[in-house]
């Protein structure tokens, strides 16, 4: 039997991998600061960072696919809901910025905000099937 915890796919090996990849991205960001903007080395480091982000995406998708069909449905609905809310949030904030609200660097905040929205959506949708 598989566990009923909808987040079980993000435990153990996934957490370790995500932590290591995140650490590598931050380390590369600090390393990149030593080189001038536009230099070949800095661009190469930025490309590696982007590829590492891609690795997290692949790792996440592979983890979700191990879930059973109901939990997979809950996660896919969670992703759809969080995507819609997040897209609305970015557009809404862009309008607020034009009106004088502080600027937010979405490149940094996109992951934590979307992950949080995803988790909340999964918990809410998961309750429906209990």
């Amino acid at each position: 039997m598989t566990s009923a915890n909808p987040f079980r796919c993000f435990q153990g090996v996934f957490l370790r991998d995500a932590f290591l990849i995140g650490l590598a991205i931050v380390a590369l960001a600090y390393l990149g600061r030593r080189f001038p903007v536009g230099s070949g080395v800095r661009l190469a480091l930025a490309i590696v960072q982007a590829l590492l982000l891609g690795a997290i995406v692949v790792r996440t998708v592979l983890s979700i696919r191990r879930l059973d069909e109901l939990l997979l449905k809950v996660h896919l609905e969670g992703i759809a809901i969080s995507f819609t809310i997040f897209a609305s949030l970015i557009s809404g904030w862009a309008m607020l910025e034009k009106a004088g609200a502080p600027s937010i660097e979405w490149g940094v905040w996109a992951w934590p905000v979307m992950a949080l929205l995803w988790c909340v959506a999964v918990v809410i949708r998961g309750r429906q099937y209990r």
């Binding site: 039997m1 598989t2 566990s3 009923a4 059973d68 069909e69 109901l70 939990l71 449905k73 998961g126 429906q128 099937y129 209990r130």
Partner: protein, 80 residues
């Protein structure tokens, strides 16, 4: 869709967890199917029916049976 999963499981004295283990799904999924909150996919429905050694229609039943067109009705419509 209604189903007899809970009844069939109880007859065999299996827990939801034990049934889930045999089907390769979580206890929550078994519970959601039994309570009618979730309709399983066709492959899972066949797997459930096979586990209970029954035909799929003996385990699952639609809320409303689809209306079949009688040959006379179909013929009548094609003439219009």
């Amino acid at each position: 869709m209604t189903n007899r999963v809970r009844e069939l499981r109880s007859e065999r004295d299996w827990s939801q967890g034990e049934l889930g283990e045999q089907l390769g799904v979580s206890r929550q999924t078994v519970n959601a199917i039994e309570t009618g909150k979730y309709d399983p996919s066709l492959p899972l429905a066949f797997k459930i029916a096979a586990l209970f050694e029954l035909a799929i229609e003996e385990v699952f039943e639609p809320d409303e049976k689809p209306k079949r067109k009688t040959p006379a009705t179909a013929e009548g419509r094609s003439r219009r």
